[in-house]
Amino acid sequence: MKRLLYLLNRVKWALISIVFVIVLNFFLFRVLPGDPARAGVRDPRLTAQAQQALRQRFGLDKPVINCFESLNPLKLGGCLENPLDTQFFIYVGNLLRGELGTSYQSGRPVAEMLGQALLNTVLLIGIAQIISIFLGIVLGLVAAWKSRTIIDFSVLVASLVAWSLPTFWLGIMLLFSGSYWLNLPVMGKMTAGADFNNNLEMFLDLGRHLLLPTLTFTIVVMGEYMLVMRSTVLEVLSEDYILTAKAKGLNTFQILKDHALRNALLPMVTIIALNLGFTVAGAIQIETVFSWPGLGLAIFNSVGRRDYPVLQGAFLLIAFSVITANLIADLLYSYLDPRIQAEDNG
């Protein structure tokens, strides 16, 4: 029963976070609505009427919310009109239907554009996370076990340096050495428009494109996992029961596997979940450098083009994903650690 209450509490807070993000998202973008009829280089063929028609097309001629006709410049008015015909409620209504609006630039539904992007980002991040978690755990374990030796020292320094590298810079360095010396692809998820004879070829092509971005990601993220794993294992290894186990005659490897690893897992789950925000930041940089067609690149491109619906939608999706992932991590954590329900005071 206690666990159920805990779970419900967690879900409640996840939902509150989501509501907060939705409201924040809306007002953020309405403070500067942006003009879909505008481009960096203006076009002489775009008449004033056409610009106005474009604005109408994207519903920018409606009042923002009750009593505020627009937020920038701040214009009051329209308090008594139909409150549901304001941009805010139209926006919320659309969200509930899974509609994220229409892209200013392409006129396509944002949800459609970002759906595939989301999958691409998950693919990239997912694989990189798995590898870096695995490596982080193993290397952290080894470093803690061999603490105060040269192995520990080098692992420690390596992970600190890795963590200090700007993700985008590492990406650039790898991109050009990789494409120059190993002839790896310069961009994208797969070779454009290629016909593959079988699934193996397709996987290989995907793999070649994944190699450098994943490597970049792994290097940057792995450092932190190594550090955390190392420090947690160090603590665990200093516990009394380790001495007991050793006295009982268990060999080192067994001790590491059955005791150190198990108990160090809990903080790792937390760190992985908390790291998701950082992971997303890394994704934006990596996708920009490697032209990987994911959510991060969508954000970057839409900023440049002032395509606010896409930007808004991508931001929302990312926030949702992180909140959801955190929730899952929380639930997983509670499943793993029975102490937690008593601690938490909702």
Partner: protein, 573 residues
């Protein structure tokens, strides 16, 4: 505990694989029109002899189409694709002139208001449905009916009505005679009525994604992934020259360095642009040929002076520009104090020509090449300002107005997403300091820039730019008095003589006379320094010599991705 960990890991790995499969094979947002004529090789497992691999031309570029809907598209990359997939009555050639595409002949009524076109018989759309004059009528009516089509609005403004008395005749009635009708009809692509009639009304037309992209041009769409690539294949039933390449893939790169890298490593066969700094390195590459020339659709970078007079100030506008800029002598002095060659060298790495007016050298005959530019002469510029009474009364290095009050300090703004403007601003500010003029440079968000520019006129000097169109009318339009109130005029320039000439040239049917008028207009705005155009940048493109040959590089304009080029190239043997 361990079991759980392995389970989680396996589950994650499994979902990654599923995602990869799903993402790769059946990408939901990419489009493969279910058509019969796929020229790619069959993939059966047991085949005695392999059919020859199709020749695929891979083109790299830094942008991509915004949409495949010709009504709503605004980016030039979309128009490149449209010209490959669609037909129109006319087609633009690489010397800037227009030739018949779908049309075979035209006859005009004596008042030039009724044009009768004959079009080629037996033309089919990519899905096999015949193209008739009815499709032309439908398309023109569609364009005209939608004022939410950004560009078609301007192109069909003077269409009164269009009719198809029979399958191969189109009768176009204009509200007034239009001298440049070919350039406008060249962009009015012929859409298949049997597909578009379902979405012709209202919002459906602007929301239609048109991902089947069925046209009647030399290429047809195989697959389209927005912001990634566009995959075309040749149309073997094309009524004109059938392309010699089997397939063309346009690939979008997020940054231009990656373009250079890709062509060097052979992942790409041709690139339509590159950073000027790469020219030196690519020149030395063995299998790559670099070409420069006037771009097909020149982008103009311009320096805008706020010169709106109080009489012309629109209602509710601020009109808060520096008064000195309304004095032509000041503008001429600034032009004389601008070292255009230095700007070309540093900003464009030498790949450009000094600019004159908004009509660029790539506009062919429309460009008035007899105008003599202001020579870069600091002492002369200083003298001009001295003689006009703008002296430095307090010896702080900055001149003041003739009444000794307001110093010549100008706000200098540009859109924050411009790569060229910051460097430009820095360099001209430095040289203008030498004639006692100071600037306050500041990058501004593009939306904010629009808000302060026009028709508010709350700025001093802006660095901005225009895209262009083959016909000079569209750019000359922005310097009229009548467009000051609606925000089209950036400068607030007003000259009745210019306005009159504009009206004349927009009706002048004889091309020679019209050219004279257009040339005179350029002289006027050059003398009045309405805009200061620092340079016209050249197009820089490159192709691999070991892949495809037949590239056309000896024409006045350079556009390796133009339909004429893609019809001419073939694989290297």
């Amino acid at each position: 505990m361990l079991k759980l960990r392995w389970f989680v890991a396996v589950f994650l790995a499994f979902s990654m694989i599923v995602t990869a499969c799903g993402g790769a094979a059946t990408a939901p947002t990419s489009t493969k029109p279910s058509d019969q004529n796929q020229p790619s090789p069959t993939k059966e497992e047991t085949k005695p002899t392999e059919p020859p691999k199709p020749s695929i031309l891979r083109i790299g570029r830094a942008g991509s189409e915004d949409t495949l809907n010709p009504g709503t598209a605004m980016l030039s990359e979309a128009w490149v694709t449209f010209e490959l997939v669609y037909s129109a009555l006319y087609m633009q050639k690489l010397d800037g002139s227009f030739t018949f595409d779908l049309a075979t002949s035209v006859s005009a009524s004596p008042d030039n208001k009724v044009l009768t076109y004959k079009i080629k018989p037996g033309v089919k759309f990519h899905d096999g449905v015949p193209l008739t004059a009815k499709d032309v009528v439908f398309s023109y009516d569609l364009y005209k009916a939608h004022d939410d089509f950004p560009y078609m609005n301007g192109y069909t403004k003077y269409f009164d009505k269009v009719e198809a008395p029979d399958d191969t005749t189109v009768v176009l009635t204009l509200t007034e005679p239009i001298p440049n009708i070919e350039s406008q009809l060249g962009y009015c692509f012929i859409l298949p009525e049997h597909i578009w009639s379902k979405v012709a009304e209202g919002k459906a037309a602007t929301e239609f994604q048109n991902e089947g992209l069925i046209g009647s041009g030399p290429f047809k769409l195989v697959e389209y992934k927005q912001n990634e690539f566009t995959h075309l294949a040749k149309n073997p039933d094309y009524y004109g020259t059938v392309p010699k390449v089997d397939e063309v893939i346009f690939q979008k790169f997020e940054n231009r360095d990656a373009l250079v890298q890709a062509i060097k490593t052979g992942q790409i066969d041709m690139i339509t642009e590159m950073p000027n700094t790469a020219v030196a390195t690519l020149k030395n590459e063995k299998n790559i040929k670099l070409v420069t020339g006037a771009p097909l659709a020149p982008d103009i970078t311009d320096i805008i002076f706020n010169q709106v007079s109080p009489e012309n100030c629109p209602k509710d506008a601020k009109c808060a520009g520096h008064p000195a800029l309304r004095d032509r002598i000041v503008r001429q002095a600034l032009a004389t104090a601008t070292n255009k060659q230095e700007l070309i060298d540093i900003v464009l790495l030498g790949l450009g020509a000094p600019g004159l007016t908004l009509i660029a050298d790539g506009m062919g005959d429309w460009y008035n090449n007899t105008i003599k530019d202001y020579p870069f002469d600091i002492p002369q510029a200083n003298k001009m300002l001295d003689d006009a009474g703008y002296k430095d009364v307090n010896n702080d290095g900055v001149r003041e107005m003739p009444d000794g009050q307001k110093p010549l300090v100008f706000r200098l703004n540009w859109p924050s997403d411009s790569t060229v403007a910051p460097r430009l601003a820095e360099l001209i500010s430095k040289t203008w300091e030498q004639i006692g003029v100071k600037t306050q440079p500041q990058a501004v968000d593009p939306d904010a820039l629009t808000a302060m520019c026009c028709p508010t006129f709350d700025y001093d000097i802006l660095i901005w730019g225009w895209g262009s169109d083959p016909d000079p009318s569209f750019l000359l339009r922005v310097m009229q008095t009548s467009v000051i109130p609606d925000g089209t005029s950036e400068t607030g320039y007003s000259n009745p003589e210019y306005d009159q000439l504009f009206d004349q040239q927009s009706k002048e049917m004889d091309p020679v006379n019209r050219k004279e008028l257009v040339w005179k207009m350029q002289e006027i705005v050059f003398k009045d320094v309405v805009y200061l155009v620092p340079f016209y940048s050249q197009a820089v493109q490159a192709y691999r010599t070991d892949r495809f040959t037949g590239w056309i590089t000896d024409q006045p304009k350079l556009a390796l991705d133009h339909v004429i080029n893609l019809l001419a190239v073939e694989p290297v043997k």
